[in-house]
């Protein structure tokens, strides 16, 4: 029992707060999409999406409270994903 309690327990109010923030960010991203900002529309939408994803990862998936093994391997995955995306774009953009 005490072994398990060492694992972080998310209180309801924290989870509700995260949900509230996620819903507000959704409203913002929908609202911004109606405004034509030229080339900035996509980066803004992706920044908001990245913020939402971070909140889900950190709190709903409790990545914030995980040990090194999961945190480092997760960041490693994101690193390789970034390589895949950026290298593809170097190829496509400067061909």
């Amino acid at each position: 029992m005490d072994k398990h309690t060492s694992q972080h327990l998310m209180p309801y109010h924290t989870l509700a707060l995260v949900l509230g923030t996620l819903l507000i960010l959704t409203a913002v991203t929908v609202g911004v999409s109606y405004v034509d900002l030229g080339i900035f529309n996509v980066p803004i939408a992706l920044t908001i999406a990245a913020t939402k994803v971070s909140l889900v990862l950190l709190f709903f998936m409790h990545l914030k409270y995980e040990g090194k093994a999961i945190v480092v391997s997760f960041l490693g995955t994101i690193f390789f994903l970034a390589i895949m995306i950026s290298f593809t774009f170097w190829d496509v953009a400067f061909r």
Binding site: H4, S6, L9, L15, L19, G67, I70, F89
Partner: protein
């Protein structure tokens, strides 16, 4: 048997699987990004034909269900069995509602002759054909994940009901929850990329 390290190991295993899912959908998003780069105008035109309201509604449904799944873990660990069951049943309901919306949305697209190999898309501009091709592949694969996620949540609900998932052993629920959150994560990117491209 050390319970603590065991529970961590169970989660690490799930995360390793989730990494492969991230790369799978990441690959599809790269495909989307490259074609968006090549056919920006067609993609914007395609995005205009998608229903922003249904997209936003489905985003809200998934976000709420992610919250209820996370809350059900707290409920199980606080031995509030009834709450945990209710929250999990509600989450499954959210998944079902998501799929109903998806069904209505796809149905409307089919009705407008916008489906793979339809005359409108084949004879139309290539960028739009690619946009809707990616739309069907990515949202279809995502919907498949919603169905799998709902099954896992239902399996966890059974576990909570018969006591196999309890305050000491909740790995099944936790991993099903992680999978469900991943489904939510993917949708968080799908929504702006397809529905909000202007």
């Amino acid at each position: 048997m050390d319970n603590s390290s065991d529970a961590t190991g169970v989660r690490i295993g799930m995360w390793l699987f989730l990494y492969s899912e991230i790369i799978l959908f990441g690959g599809l998003f790269v495909l989307y990004a490259v074609y968006f780069h090549n056919y920006a105008a067609d993609f914007v035109e395609g995005g205009r034909q998608l229903d922003r309201v249904i997209g936003a509604l489905n985003t809200i449904i998934l976000l709420i269900s992610s919250f209820t799944v996370a809350a059900s873990i707290t409920a199980v660990r606080r031995q509030q069995k009834r709450w945990a069951q209710g929250l999990l049943a509600f989450s499954c309901g959210c998944g079902a509602l998501f799929l109903v919306n998806k069904y209505l949305e796809w149905g409307a697209k089919f009705h407008h002759d916008l489906y793979p190999n339809s005359a409108t898309l084949v004879d139309g501009p290539p960028g739009q054909n690619i946009f809707f091709g990616l739309y069907y592949v990515i949202t279809g694969l995502h919907a498949l994940h919603v169905i799998i996620g709902m099954s896992l949540l239902a399996w966890s609900l059974i576990g909570v009901s018969n006591g196999k998932v309890n305050q000491l052993h909740f790995g099944r629920l936790e991993n099903s929850g992680l999978y469900w959150h991943l489904v939510d994560l993917i949708w968080i990117f799908v929504f702006p990329l397809f529905y909000l491209v202007l």
